[in-house]
């Protein structure tokens, strides 16, 4: 009998459905209940939760390449940000003439004395086109970068460093005003999306639910991939790439596939992030930001898919609390987290859970495996 991965067990499915329903309930509590009610969920909390879900999606994407394929990317933030920028272009267009200068051009372009949109802004007033950009631009970047990197068999720390270089280069590029993406201010002051006001409760709820759907969808997609034969090949890449080659697999195509997919998922997360948070600027592409994503995955438990989601929520929750209550302590706490996780909790929360299960459950499991192999 094959061992069944947790998520596909009955318990796993039940938990998934429960969590999804619970998450979907929050907007209801926001809209339906009056503000004074004990269970009311404020708009701020809803937005925060939505933001966390975007981060969770990004963490999931990172887990796919790191936890399952062994490729540590320290530059995934660039895909997240590019997805956000792509969507942001549409949102900037949607401001119409309601900007500070009353021009049909965004404020920052008026400020730079530009007379019209540059060529790469063409068609961005169409939502569908921008959604295409969200997927294509980071995807293409990932594909080209990955192709050249994997082809020359760059591995390990060297690869991680050049992903840092990649995101750093993009950050520098986007900080320039001439690049046409708002310079260090980025895109902000959005007014509407698809005709609906961006701050209206209905829009917020819709975005929230869209994010939830994307997260759950991505989780299921990743689960399917990881459980398939391809997933086993990926684990082979992680554990013994040369062995895999001698069996007849070309690691390049598999790495490229999962790398590009991961980038696209991350970009989608970014695209969902920007209308909920209302701003995107080049600091999202900073190397530090990408490294922070890694800690979400590490704390949650790499190679578990669910772990990174938990990790994203946990770390960002901690961050929101600390930066409000004890701002000076946040960076200490984050730094400490990195150290503690790598020294003591390499498998992360979800990874170390089975070891923490009460003795009885473990014995039962052990007995079961013994029966199977007898």
């Amino acid at each position: 009998m094959k061992r069944t991965p947790f998520l596909f067990t009955r318990l796993g499915w039940t938990l998934l459905v429960l969590c999804t329903l619970g998450a979907a309930l929050l907007p209801l509590l926001h809209l339906a209940l009056p503000e004074t009610h004990a269970l009311h969920v404020s708009g701020y909390a809803l937005g925060l939760f939505g933001k966390f879900m975007c981060y969770a999606l990004a963490a999931l994407a990172l887990d796919l390449v790191w936890g399952y394929t062994g490729i540590l990317s320290l530059g995934h933030g660039v895909f997240f940000a590019l997805g956000a920028y792509a969507h942001g272009m549409y949102l900037m267009r949607s401001i119409g003439t309601e900007g500070s200068y009353g021009s049909r051009l965004p404020d920052f372009m008026v400020f730079l004395d530009w007379k019209d949109y540059p060529w790469y802004w063409a068609f961005t007033e169409h939502f569908a086109y921008c959604m295409l950009l969200v997927v294509l631009v980071p995807g293409l970047l990932a594909f080209v970068f990955g192709y050249f990197a994997f082809r020359s068999r760059i591995k390990g720390v060297y690869f991680s460093i050049i992903t840092q270089a990649m995101t750093y280069a993009f950050m520098l590029l986007f900080f320039r005003n001439d690049t046409g993406f708002g310079g260090n201010n980025g895109f902000t002051d959005f007014k509407r999306i698809l005709g609906f006001s961006i701050t209206a409760p209905g829009t917020r709820v819709a975005l929230y639910l869209a994010t939830l759907a994307a997260l759950v969808g991505a989780l299921l997609l990743c689960r399917w991939i990881v459980g398939s034969k391809l997933g086993r090949v990926l684990a082979g890449v992680r554990d013994g790439e040369s062995r895999l080659m001698f069996i007849g697999y070309n690691p390049l195509s598999f790495k490229l596939f999962v790398w590009t997919l991961s980038a696209v998922l991350c970009a989608i997360a970014g695209a969902l992030y920007v209308p909920q948070v209302g701003i995107i600027n080049p600091s999202e592409m900073s190397p530090a930001n990408s490294i922070e994503m890694v800690i979400w995955v590490a704390i949650g438990g790499r190679g578990t898919l669910v772990g990174p989601i938990l990790g994203a929520f946990a770390v960002n929750g901690l961050k929101s609390w600390l930066t409000a209550a004890f701002p000076e302590l946040w960076l200490f706490a984050l730094g400490l987290l990195f150290i503690l996780v790598t020294l003591f909790m390499r498998k992360g929360i979800v990874g170390t859970l089975p070891a923490l299960l009460p003795k009885a459950a473990r014995r039962k499991e052990a007995l079961q495996t013994e029966e199977e192999t007898a």
Binding site: V233, A235, F257
Partner: protein, 261 residues
């Protein structure tokens, strides 16, 4: 990334030889690991390669499997596959399977999964993603599991197997690839006597169905599997002597080199 290897009708062995190595030289910074090596193996043959340490046995295997490019010379698999121009995975896909000195199986996968991964099939991304095990394939895996004496342990993690069992698993993975040429690099290193005997049995079962090249130090083992077949002695990167086991053992130069007189 050319997978047209998959479409070719296999290896062209119309001239009877499955592997030609002609004047292969491999030098690392002036040191010649292989020095004008000439070797050929016929279809269905079981060839044993022996030689003192540093003779170049592993480097020769590296050249054949594409891990190292020869500085000069040519290596042909059948009539049409130029090994020096192919990547490792293409060579593996074309029908050369290699077992390494130290057992390298996928420790985080079960025995079953290891064999499934190695199974001969289209190994590109899309087919792999949508692959489903057919009954026939499951049977095949079950058969190999029996052959490598691991039945009952299909769902044990490979990392938990004993050393000898890992070696067999690796041989099993090799067989799953359905290779035409099998390269075994010290298959019984570190095995107990009983395990060695069983390995010899296994190899004898394979003889004739596949072409096999075995590199070994254990003379007893070599004697048992070589039987009437050819044995090649390598020394300092080239062939020192070639012939039946008894001929080679009586060869003066071989004795000198091995015993250092």
């Amino acid at each position: 990334m050319s997978m047209d290897m998959v479409k070719r009708a296999g290896v062209d062995t119309t001239h009877g030889a499955i592997l030609y190595l002609e004047d292969i030289t491999v030098s690392f910074d002036g040191f010649r690991a292989l020095n004008n090596l000439n070797l050929d193996i016929s279809v269905g043959e079981l060839r044993c390669i022996i030689g003192p340490n540093g003779a170049g046995k592993t480097t020769m295997m590296d050249v054949i499997t594409g891990k190292t490019r020869p500085t000069s010379g040519s290596a042909w698999f059948g009539q049409s596959h130029d090994l020096a121009q192919m990547t490792e995975y293409a060579i593996a896909h074309a029908g050369i399977g290699r077992k390494f000195q130290r057992p390298t199986v996928f420790e985080q996968h079960t025995v079953f999964e290891n064999l499934e991964l190695a199974m001969k099939m289209d190994k590109r991304v899309r087919p792999t993603l949508f692959a489903r095990l057919s009954l026939e394939q499951e049977d095949r895996i079950a058969a190999i599991v029996r052959q490598i004496r691991l039945n009952g342990a299909e769902h044990r993690l490979a990392g938990l197997l004993s050393h000898g069992q890992k070696q067999w698993l690796e041989i099993g993975m090799l067989l799953m690839q359905e290779p035409q040429l099998i390269l075994l690099d010290e298959p019984v290193a570190g095995m107990s006597d009983a395990e060695t005997a069983r390995t010899a049995e296994l190899l004898n079962e394979l003889r004739g169905k596949h072409s096999i090249m075995v590199v070994e130090h254990d003379m007893g083992f070599v004697a048992e599997i070589a039987q009437q077949g050819k044995v090649t002695v390598l020394h300092e990167g080239s062939v020192l002597a070639e012939g039946r086991m008894d001929e080679v053992q009586a060869h003066d130069r071989v004795i000198e080199v091995y015993l250092g007189r």
